[in-house]
C-alpha cells in the first residue's frame, strides 16, 4: 500500500494549530504509518513537493509571500485543509484590517521604536492590504475552525481524509 503524501504549512498564524496537531499524542504513530509528512515546519524539506495528497494550512494570507505560497500549494495539492480560525476567518491577523498598512507600520516601527526607527524593507515580504482567509484566494476543500481546533478534531479530519472521505465536521468544531 502506498502511503499518502501529507504536508503542512504555516502562514500568518501563531503555530498553535501545529501544536494542536502534535497534541494528538501517540495517535501520530498511526498517522505516520499511513502517511508521509513530506513538507512543513515540522520537517526539513526545503521545497514544496510537486505532488501532495493533503496539505494542512495554518494561518491567514497576510503578505505577498503568503499569497504566492498558498497559490503554489493549491496547484500541487489534491486536498487543501484550512486549519484553524486564522486560515478559515483570518481571525487575529485580521485585527489590523480596519487600519491602513502604512499607518500600522509607522505606528510600530517609527512611533513605537526607541532605536533604529524606520520601516523594514529588506528581506521582508510586502503586506497585503488585508489579512484574509485562504478561501478568498484559493479553493479550500475542508474548513476546520477553532483557535486552535482540538487535537481530536484534527485527528478526525486526518483519519477521514486518509480513509478517502471528506470529513463532515458539522458541530464538532466551532469558531474561537
Amino acid at each position: 500500500m502506498t502511503k499518502a503524501r501529507l504536508a503542512t504549512m504555516w502562514l500568518d498564524g501563531c503555530s498553535g494549530c501545529h501544536m494542536s496537531l502534535l497534541d494528538v499524542d501517540e495517535a501520530i504513530i498511526t498517522i505516520a504509518q499511513r502517511a508521509d509528512l513530506v513538507y512543513g515546519p515540522l520537517v526539513d524539506a526545503q521545497a514544496f513537493p510537486d505532488e501532495v495528497d493533503v496539505t494542512i494550512v495554518e494561518g491567514a494570507v497576510s503578505s505577498q509571500d503568503d499569497l504566492e505560497k498558498i497559490q503554489h500549494v493549491r496547484e500541487h495539492t489534491r486536498i487543501l485543509v484550512a486549519l484553524g480560525d486564522c486560515a478559515v476567518t483570518s481571525n487575529v491577523p485580521s485585527m489590523r484590517n480596519p487600519f491602513a498598512v502604512k499607518s500600522i507600520l509607522e505606528r510600530v516601527y517609527i512611533e513605537g521604536a526607541d532605536v533604529q526607527k524606520g520601516i523594514p524593507t529588506d528581506g521582508v515580504p510586502t503586506l497585503l492590504k488585508h489579512a484574509i482567509p485562504l478561501q478568498d484566494v484559493v479553493k479550500v476543500d475542508v474548513h476546520v475552525p477553532g483557535c486552535p481546533p482540538s487535537a481530536q478534531a484534527i485527528l478526525f479530519v486526518l483519519n477521514e481524509l486518509l480513509d478517502g472521505r471528506i470529513p463532515d465536521l458539522k458541530s464538532k468544531v466551532r469558531f474561537g
Binding site: A82, D85, V88, T89, S90, N91, V92, S94, M95, N97, P98, F99, H130, I132, P133, Q135, D136, V140, H143, V144, P145, C147, L169, K170, S171, V173, R174, F175, G176
Partner: protein
C-alpha cells in the same frame, strides 16, 4: 378571554391562543427555531432573521417571532430553503463586523458563536467587511464594543421595557446602523443610564460586557431578565 385557535406546525395540529406568535407556539410544541434577537419577557423585533419560517400560501419567508398565528395557518419550521436562508443570515452577521471569537471576552459564552456551531457553520462564504469601529469604555462599569454588536436590539428593549430608562437606540441606516446611548453621547456621560446592567446581561455577544473581564470570562445571566418580566406580569 383570548380565543383558542388551531394551527399546523410541521404538520402537527397545535392549539394556540390568538395573539401568540409562531415562535411562541412552535416553542410550546417542542419545535426548535433558532434566534438571536428574541428573548422571553421582551417584545419582539424580528431583527436577526434567524427564525424565518414558511407559512403556507405566503410566497416569502416570515420571521416567526413577529408573525402572529392565525386560525388554520400551516407553518413549516425547517426545510432546505429555510436552512439555506438562516445560514446565509448567520454568515452575513459574521461578515458585517469584527467577530474575533478567539480574543473575545464572551468566547465560549456567546449566542452567535454557539448558533454557528449548532447550525454547523464552519466557514463563511462571503468576504468579511472589516469595518473600523469604536469601543466605548467611558462607563465606569461596562464596555460597549461595536465590533461585536449584531444590532439585535435586546439592549434597547430591555432598557425601555423592563428598566424604563430607554438609554439605548439604534441610529443610522443599513450598514451604518449603530447602537447609541442618550442621543449619541458617550455611555459614561449618559444622564438616563441607571447602571443596572440589564443590557449587558441580555446581550447575546461580547458587545455589551462588564469591565475587567478577560478572554472567555464574560458569562451572562439573561434568565434574570425573563424572571423580572414574568414577576411584573404577576403583579400588574
Amino acid at each position: 378571554m383570548s380565543q383558542q385557535i388551531s394551527v399546523r406546525i410541521d404538520g402537527q395540529l397545535c392549539t394556540a391562543t390568538e395573539g401568540q406568535t409562531i415562535f411562541q407556539v412552535a416553542q410550546a410544541n417542542g419545535r426548535y427555531i433558532p434566534s438571536l434577537c428574541h428573548m422571553e419577557g421582551l417584545s419582539s423585533a424580528g431583527s436577526c432573521r434567524l427564525c424565518l419560517v414558511e407559512v403556507q400560501g405566503i410566497g416569502r419567508l416570515l420571521p416567526a417571532c413577529t408573525t402572529p398565528v392565525r386560525s388554520g395557518m400551516s407553518v413549516t419550521t425547517n426545510s432546505d430553503v429555510i436552512a439555506h436562508n438562516r445560514l446565509m443570515a448567520l454568515e452575513l452577521l459574521f461578515t458585517e463586523r469584527n467577530h474575533i471569537c478567539a480574543v473575545c471576552v464572551s468566547n465560549g459564552h456567546c449566542e452567535l458563536q454557539a448558533l454557528a456551531q449548532t447550525l454547523g457553520l464552519n466557514h463563511v462564504r462571503f468576504p468579511y467587511n472589516y469595518p473600523r469601529l469604536p469601543v466605548d469604555v467611558s462607563h465606569p462599569r461596562f464596555v460597549l464594543d461595536h465590533n461585536r454588536c449584531i444590532l439585535c436590539s435586546r439592549c434597547v428593549r430591555v432598557c425601555d421595557e423592563i428598566e424604563g430608562a430607554h438609554v439605548w437606540d439604534v441610529a443610522g441606516r443599513g450598514i451604518n446602523s449603530r447602537l447609541v446611548s442618550d442621543l449619541d453621547r458617550p455611555w459614561g456621560e449618559s444622564q438616563s443610564c441607571t447602571s443596572c446592567g440589564k443590557c449587558v446581561q441580555v446581550c447575546p455577544t461580547g458587545a455589551l460586557v462588564e469591565k475587567g473581564r478577560a478572554v472567555e470570562e464574560m458569562t451572562k445571566r439573561n434568565a434574570v431578565v425573563t424572571q423580572l418580566a414574568a414577576k411584573r406580569e404577576t403583579h400588574l
